[in-house]
């Protein structure tokens, strides 16, 4: 089944204070589709003045929004989920057009998961409670969770609607107002969502401002009008945002990527069964979303006694990947999100080769025919080498996996942890001891055991080491968007006796 490029308006506005508005100085930028490198539409090239308007609207709305009941907030979050669900195909096609990812992914992963995140946080706030402790017979300590106020969120381009749905619902559920800046490569699905939910929240509760990092992102991150900044991206920008936030003594949450190891122990090949088939797929998941995933399993570690046999199966499965029109449901790997991303990946493949990595499959761009000839496609690539190579140490953010072998558990762990990052990892084994001990010894915030690339709303996600700090998803995320009001109440009629 095949879909077609969706229709867009000529230009879009920022969504501020409940309505779409043109950027203050009237400047726009062209947003293109990586699928075929054609124009999608023009989006506001916002400046500080636009960001300030959004922050002002959010501040004006925060008192009354922060005082709404959990019941009311939950109802509105559920309403958003219902609206996305009712328009699932429309969102999926827009997302494929803007990001380049295959339609089968947006239909089955991005959009359904986004919906679920809205519902999860709608549910969470109905069930959770504060706490109260009787400290002694006459003293009660009561903990009330209060919203921070206004939250600034800067989200990436690899899962535009899903990353929005990771960040917006918990912040709103906690009673905050939000100013969100989508990535400039992928402003479309956030805009579509604002069109669909324009009337759901009171004006000022949700604001979306488009534009470039140095012009719109920086004023948002450094504004004294926000009480928290949440960011997903890379390390240098992460450091800058922390600097800006430090001027306001604002808390930050950072999700800064990784170089995740995916470890296959010899027992996976004990049987040629459904589990081995799952493990092979687990290794090939490096190509999922064109490798543009912070947790891309981009380092493939295979135990030496199964190395040849297992790698043969992986190469075979990788070669079977279908690259075609991303709007066609048969497409498995689509376009990289932008030209600079495409160039960067090819540059990494080149340095990998120069460092002595062997190309087992792929290793070059992929040219599609006809209208897709100008899109940014790269062949799923397996590079065989060792962990000190640059391609093993840097997030390429492409469909490129770096393969190496290990002798035993100790060597597997040494390689897995020899990285600056610690976001994700995969462990595959039939050995009951390894199932627990190896994940515990890996320094990463999420270890998938006998699975990979699952992102349920109910499991916390976040990094160790240079992958950042703070967690997303799960009930615990609420506390990254709240502060604790402690009320210490005395029921004692008698004075202290000091004065």
């Amino acid at each position: 089944m095949s879909y077609t490029k969706p229709k867009f308006k000529e230009k879009y506005g920022n969504f501020i204070n409940g309505k779409f508005v043109a950027p203050v100085d009237g400047k726009y930028f062209d947003n293109t589709s990586p699928v075929d490198n054609t124009l999608i539409a023009q989006y506001p090239r916002s400046q500080k003045a636009d960001v300030d308007l959004a922050i002002e609207a959010a501040n004006a709305a925060k008192e009354s929004w922060g005082n709404t009941s959990a019941t009311e907030r939950a109802q509105l979050l559920n309403k958003v989920a219902d609206i996305i669900e009712a328009n699932l195909e429309e969102f999926a096609v827009v997302e494929t057009c803007d990001n380049g990812k295959p339609i089968r992914e947006t239909l089955n992963a991005d959009i359904p998961l986004s919906i679920d995140h809205w519902r999860y946080f709608a549910g969470v706030i109905r069930a959770e409670e504060g706490s109260a402790t009787e400290l002694d017979a006459n003293t009660l300590s009561m903990n009330i969770k209060e919203p921070l106020g206004v939250v600034g969120q800067i989200i990436p381009w690899n899962f535009p609607l899903l990353m929005l749905s990771w960040k917006l619902p918990p912040a709103l559920a906690a009673g905050n107002c939000v100013v969100l800046k989508p990535a400039e490569q992928t402003p479309s699905s956030a805009t579509l969502l604002m069109e669909k939910i324009a009337d759901v929240f009171p004006p000022g509760v949700v604001n979306v401002v488009h534009g470039f990092g140095p012009e719109a992102g920086k004023p948002l991150a450094s504004s004294p009008g926000v009480n928290k900044v949440a960011f997903t991206g890379e390390t240098t920008t992460g450091q800058l945002i922390m600097q800006y936030a430090s001027k306001n003594l604002n808390p930050v949450t950072m999700e800064l990527g990784g170089k995740s190891p995916n470890i296959f122990f010899n027992s996976v090949m004990d049987e040629d069964d459904a589990f081995l088939d799952k493990a092979i797929e687990g290794a090939v998941l490096f190509a999922f979303n064109q490798g543009e995933v912070c947790t891309c399993p981009s380092r493939l570690l295979v135990q030496e006694d199964i190395y040849d046999a297992f790698v043969e199966r992986i190469i075979e499965r990788t070669k079977a990947i279908v690259q075609t029109n991303p709007y066609d449901t048969s497409c498995m790997v689509g376009a990289q999100a932008s030209n600079d991303q495409y160039e960067k990946i090819l540059s990494y493949i080149a340095i990998g080769k120069e460092e002595g990595a062997k190309v087992l499959t792929g290793g070059a761009a992929c040219t599609l025919d006809g209208e897709f000839a100008n899109g940014f496609y790269i062949q799923p690539t397996i590079l065989e080498g060792h962990n000190k190579m640059r391609v093993f140490q840097e997030e390429i953010f492409g469909p490129v996996v770096c393969l190496t072998k290990f002798k035993d558990e100790a060597e597997a762990l040494e390689i897995a942890n020899d990285t600056l990052y610690g976001l994700g990892a995969g462990v595959w084994t039939r050995d009951a001891h390894q199932l627990y001990q190896i994940p515990r010894a890996i320094k990463a915030g999420r270890v998938w055991v006998n699975c990979y690339h699952a992102y349920p709303a109910h499991a916390p996600f976040g990094g160790y080491k240079k992958s950042g700090f703070g967690r997303e998803n799960h009930l615990m995320m609420m506390n990254y968007y709240r502060q604790t009001k402690n009320m210490l109440i005395s029921y004692d009629k008698n004075k202290l006796g000091f004065f």
Binding site: T232, Q243, G257, I351, E394, Y421, K466
Partner: protein
């Protein structure tokens, strides 16, 4: 010419000069991590807090090029050439509004360079 770990293409120099006219003194900082990670970022001098944990790789087109020490440990056997390409990064790097993006091309250091830089 003095040996250097980092070089820049003529095309990229033109963009650096354009940004220098607009912003004054600049620095490059090599990013890591996801999304726009592994790309060079260019900022106004003084915008980013630098200290002993940032290694100065060299000066190109009048701009110092820094990389964090622990990232440098994994990169120090390679030579970097800064180039410019069309594209749309999403970081705070100053060239982004021009619809351009700095990228790096890398090669291995020669034995001679390795001795010189990493002794």
């Amino acid at each position: 010419m003095k040996p250097s770990r980092v070089a820049i293409t003529e095309k990229a120099i033109k963009i650096v000069q354009k940004l220098q006219e607009q912003y004054g003194d600049l620095i490059f900082h090599q990013s890591g991590g996801c999304c726009d990670g592994s790309s060079p970022m260019i900022f106004e001098k003084g915008d980013m807090y630098l200290d002993d944990s940032d290694v100065l790789l060299g000066n190109i087109a009048g701009v110092n090029y820094y990389m964090n020490q622990d990232q440098y440990e994994y990169w120090k056997h390679t030579h970097l050439t800064i180039d410019i390409t069309e594209g749309r990064g999403s970081s705070f790097s100053l060239e982004i509004p021009l619809g351009l993006r700095f990228i790096i091309h890398s090669r291995l250091l020669t034995d001679e360079e390795m001795t010189l830089f990493n002794k």
